[in-house]
Assembly symmetry: C2
Homo-oligomer: 84 residues x 2
Amino acid sequence: MKYQAEINVMPLKELLDPQGKAVVSGLKNLNLSAITDVRVGKHLSIIVEADNETDAREQIDTACNKLLANPVIEYYEYSLQALN
Amino acid sequence: MKYQAEINVMPLKELLDPQGKAVVSGLKNLNLSAITDVRVGKHLSIIVEADNETDAREQIDTACNKLLANPVIEYYEYSLQALN
């Protein structure tokens, strides 16, 4: 069975996000100073082939912990959807 | 009123995504070859101060079109939520 996962890998909330700060000041130059708080991370859209949802979640957790997210500075979250 | 928007900026579906291909081959080295299709983009979490939802959406569209997404190679989508 195939599952589609939408994964967000974001900088930990306790940490400064320099890329987000750069976006805020870029937006200020475009007269969009109403946008105040920006955090920038990665979005991954993946397809997993797995027997069941538990198996799919295990594979995604392994992928995130070992390759996609750096747990020292990032956290990840995802939504999973079975494809027909 | 404050709105929180979760924006995804992704490479257009018609285009190759070299970063996604690199992730797939990285995952293969971790024995995760069941993950077949990966596309990598940006995720932005922002707070907008706006009078109403229409105004918030306008600001986000301007920000995405002028700074956050390159329409030649990327598309964006977002969800908007009013904060109390």
